[in-house]
Amino acid sequence: MDFNLTEDRQMLADTLNRFLADQYPVEHRNKVAYDAPYHDPKLWDALVELGTLYALAPEEAGGMGGTGFDISVVFEALGRQITPEPILGALMASRLLTAAGADQDALLSGASKYAVAFTELDAAYDLDQIATTATAKGDAYTLSGRKSTVYGGQVADIFLVAAKLNGKLALFKVAAADANVTGYALMDGAGAAELLLDDTPAALLLADATAAMQDAIDAGIVALCAEAVGAMDVTHAITVDYLKQRKQFGIAIGKFQVLQHRAVDMLTEIEQSRSIVIKAAAELGGDDASRYASMAKNLIGRSARLIAEEAVQMHGGIAMTWEYPVSHYAKRLVMLDAQLGDTDYHLARVMDGYKAA
């Protein structure tokens, strides 16, 4: 048993944290997160340069990491600065390409941006409900359907698209140039796209992709949850600092016991969140990966909302403004619940396990 990071991972964490704190102050983050293309291409290049993407893939796929702990280290750092770079898509695409045994040099070198298109309007979280269809035309395929809120899709070169083929969920590669892509900003910054497919040419990657998609989702959940822990840490630190600085009725509001105890309860939930991410990261790739990913996403869904709402409430009006960083952290913490399955969706998955047993 050892809860220390390996030296390599600690170095990666330190590098990313230093780099982002230095190059990516929140004012800059807010500017790029809400102006097309809803991220900072220079920062993307710099993050690639630092080896961020290589950390997300295993050696056999050309990377230098790819375990749950590699993923959580990277995304916790990204979360501390609520970085809107489209790295989640790269992670999930890398898992899928690894499963398909496909080349991913262009992905890991940052030359091509990938986005993963599972979600549809009536299939927010559940793979079973995907309705986009694939049709074989000789050796080639075309896809028809609408993929919705494809995170990072506004700048993707390549989409990995889930579609029904012969009654099974299959995975296809679609070039952005071949599809109808409409990008837009998100409430919490960063971008996404609607992807309209209408007999759009596509290359088959996996004919039976459910297991690989679930693994990509599990990895994505570890990433999102680690991102949330990073963002919660910063939000809590800003809040506690504010409690020390801000005076009301002549004394620092941090002297009010009610706010003290609520700040302690936030701390407790953050520590619990950190723990469940460690567990989900440790289990990633194993037989119980999905179960612990669901546990993590549920707990984070609850704690992130608590931290966001309490941070705003304890600040008062100031945290309701665009100018004050906490508002942006709060938005990210709340909105990430709707990525890759929300609190209730994952609770129900844990409950489903009780029936089987």
């Binding site: 559940d126 998100l186 409430m187 009010f256 705003v312 409430q313 009006g317 403004t321 709707a338």
Partner: protein, 395 residues
């Protein structure tokens, strides 16, 4: 014990309902349903419509142009307006300055300002909060110094709602810096066109422009713009804080929000079935609905007590606390119901083919974030708990 409305009240409700059906323009109720920011034009137009009917200044006494309704009638009117998705009445002139002038203003002030409020000649805003003096109003710093027949005002106000539209602002200013905190404050009316006033927008968490900062640099207004006695502005501020608090439960708005959530959960498919059949989501709705049903009665009970005693008591802080919690929970559910479809930044998806659902849903996430304000402003829920501690528990 009788929860039903009297025959007269039911007749009144029917009259209001019929009137709204007839006179509330559809583009207005549509705009309210869609949940974006309302334009100044819509708000002014709706004021004018109600004013023509004599139903604008619902809480004013008859002598000043109010309709002379009972508390229950006022409640019914508010409920029906919510039910019809009528625009909210901007409260600063009608619900705040109006009653203040009626109680503390001179005859001249009443004669001049009150008709102009009704006519919509003056759009008022409120100059209370300052940076560093939010819930702790008594520590405000904006100075007004008498110079002959004039006040010279210097300082800064903040959280000035809809100040960007305003013609006038009513301010609390410190007029005796030697006096103790709550003493030495005066209530002064200021024309926003006076030189030395600058209004700067505050962008809110969800990107909207609803509140402002107002800066005063050597702003000169007539001495006669003082309302009530010099250095006695705190009395007025307190009067306003306890006046007409029964609306603070926001029951009508929560009823709107509940209907919206249910409609949305019927339309949204999750795991292949309507979201309202998902037991976890349905249980969240049901808990909120039960709390709201109780809140409706709590609200009526306090309304009834206020009617009997002539004024609402401190227990109305319960309405503020629980009312905002329920409303915020419902707004959370609306966002949750949409799932990823709540994620786009409002305004980005204008192409009809690409919309995620009915236009009403486009602002759901924005409304959730914007509504976090309700437990903060007007005396935060923590301040309300402090009030209840002192008054109801006597701790």
């Amino acid at each position: 014990m009788d929860l039903s409305y009297s025959a007269e009240d039911i007749a009144f409700r029917d009259e209001v309902r019929a009137y709204l059906a007839e006179n509330l323009p559809e583009h207005m109720s549509k705009a309210v349903r869609e949940g974006g920011e309302l334009t100044k034009e819509i708000m002014e137009e709706w004021h004018a419509i109600l004013n023509r009917k004599g139903w604008l200044a619902t809480i004013w006494p008859k002598e000043f142009g109010g309709p002379g309704w009972s508390p229950v009638q006022k409640h019914i009117f508010e409920e029906e307006c919510c039910r019809a998705y009528a625009p909210r009445i901007v409260p600063f002139g009608l619900s705040m300055l109006g009653p203040v002038l009626q109680k503390f203003g001179s005859k001249e002030q009443q004669d001049y300002y009150l008709p102009r409020i009704l006519n919509g000649d003056d759009w008022w805003c409120q100059g209370y909060s300052e940076p560093g003096a939010g819930s702790d109003l008594a520590s405000l710093k904006t100075r007004a110094v008498r110079d002959g027949d004039e006040w010279v005002i210097n300082g800064q106000k903040t959280w000035t709602t809809l100040g960007q539209h305003a013609d006038w602002i009513f301010c609390l200013c410190r007029t005796d810096p030697e006096a103790k905190q709550q003493e030495g404050i005066s209530f002064i009316l200021v024309d926003m066109k006076t030189p030395g006033i600058e209004v700067r927008p505050i962008k809110l968490i969800e990107g909207g422009h609803e509140v402002n900062e107002v800066f005063f640099t050597d702003v000169r207004v007539p001495y006669g713009n003082l309302v009530g006695k010099e250095n006695k502005g705190w009395t007025i501020a307190k009067y306003l804080l306890t006046h007409e608090r029964t609306g603070i439960a926001g029951v009508g708005f929560s009823m709107q929000a509940l209907e919206e959530v249910k409609a949305l959960a019927r339309k949204t498919l999750r795991n292949g079935r309507p979201l309202i059949e998902d037991p976890l989501f349905a249980s969240r709705i049901a808990k909120a609905e039960i709390d709201l049903e109780a809140m409706k009665i709590t609200n009526l009970r306090m309304l009834f007590k206020a009617q009997q005693q002539g004024a609402p008591g401190p227990e109305t802080s319960i309405l503020k606390i629980k009312g905002t919690v329920i409303h915020q929970e419902l707004k959370d559910l609306a966002r949750r119901a949409l799932g990823p479809a709540a994620a786009p930044f409002p305004g980005y998806i204008t192409d009809g083919n690409l919309m995620f659902g009915p236009a009403e849903t486009a602002h759901n996430a924005a409304r959730y974030f914007n509504n976090r304000k309700t437990s903060i402003f007007g005396g935060s829920n923590e301040i309300q708990r402090n009030i209840l501690t002192k008054t109801m528990l006597e701790l």
